[in-house]
Symmetry: C2
Subunit: 140 residues, 2 copies
DNA sequence: CTTCATGCAAATAATTTGCAGTAAG
DNA sequence: CTTACTGCAAATTATTTGCATGAAG
């Protein structure tokens, strides 16, 4: 169980009800768009404003709590900042699943960066395809 | 030299002046946002409409001529469809550079997909960091 | 208490749409 | 000629901002 309040205070942000809930639903569902977050948090806090979501997402990204996951053909999703990983993205249902990268890819990326004199900060690997569930549906 | 007219006709699209120019500037500069394209093509075709750019980008993506490159914290860029590759993206100046992936990463991605019963269609690898030029600037 | 965060409403930016006129084949 | 494409203007959607009120520490 993650302590969202502490997570926020450590970065100098007040632990408001709204922020706690944003973190909690992002944590629960893994990857959410602005609208997903809004819809979900509204269930427990109906007077929530979209502007608050936008302001907080930007703020929490600056503070390194949230990370943007831009996706081909859709609005970005957001996830909690965590160890580097790749995404399997289903182009049918929109599902996003985390997968740990492993050292091998890591080494490859670092070698390339070194060769190009590129100061690498962050990797982003997205694999687009059709997930097992959607393959089932299509077959039927 | 790429024959843009043929490229378009092969996919059942008319080879208009606008489309030829969009392809030509994207080809020339490698990676461009909607606004970049608009600004550039306007130089040779001042009466161009932004709506035309949007319509054509969508159309050409459907026909597999253009590919979207979504980027953290910015508007997407577009590139000509070509062999799989990764992107080095400079977070200072916005530069995007192509790099060929190599078989090693390819194999890793396919293995993971197989293990997850994921039907892989498309890879997207973006490495974010600071390019050589911007490192120079910072140092000075 | 004091400061920072929220929610609203209004402003701005980004994208899409409908349609009459125009150009490609 | 005929169909598809463009450009405009209007509509829609997405995001940002300013400010008065309210909550956190």
């Amino acid at each position: 169980m993650i302590d969202y309040a502490q997570m926020l205070k450590e970065r100098g942000l007040k632990a408001t009800f709204q922020r706690m809930n944003i973190l909690s639903v992002v944590d629960k569902y893994g990857h959410m768009s602005v609208d997903d977050i809004y819809a979900e948090v509204c269930k427990v806090h109906p007077s929530l404003s979209l502007a608050t979501i936008y302001k907080n997402i930007i703020l929490m990204m600056e503070k390194g709590v949230l990370v943007e996951v831009p996706i081909v053909g859709k609005k970005s999703k957001y996830e909690l900042a965590k160890a580097d990983h790749m995404h399997l993205i289903c182009t049918e249902c929109g599902m996003v699943e985390d997968k740990i990268c492993g050292e091998k890819t890591d080494t490859i990326f670092q070698d390339i960066s070194k060769k190009e004199h590129f100061n690498l900060h962050k990797r982003q690997v997205n694999l687009y395809g059709v997930c097992e569930k959607c393959q089932m549906k299509e077959a039927s």
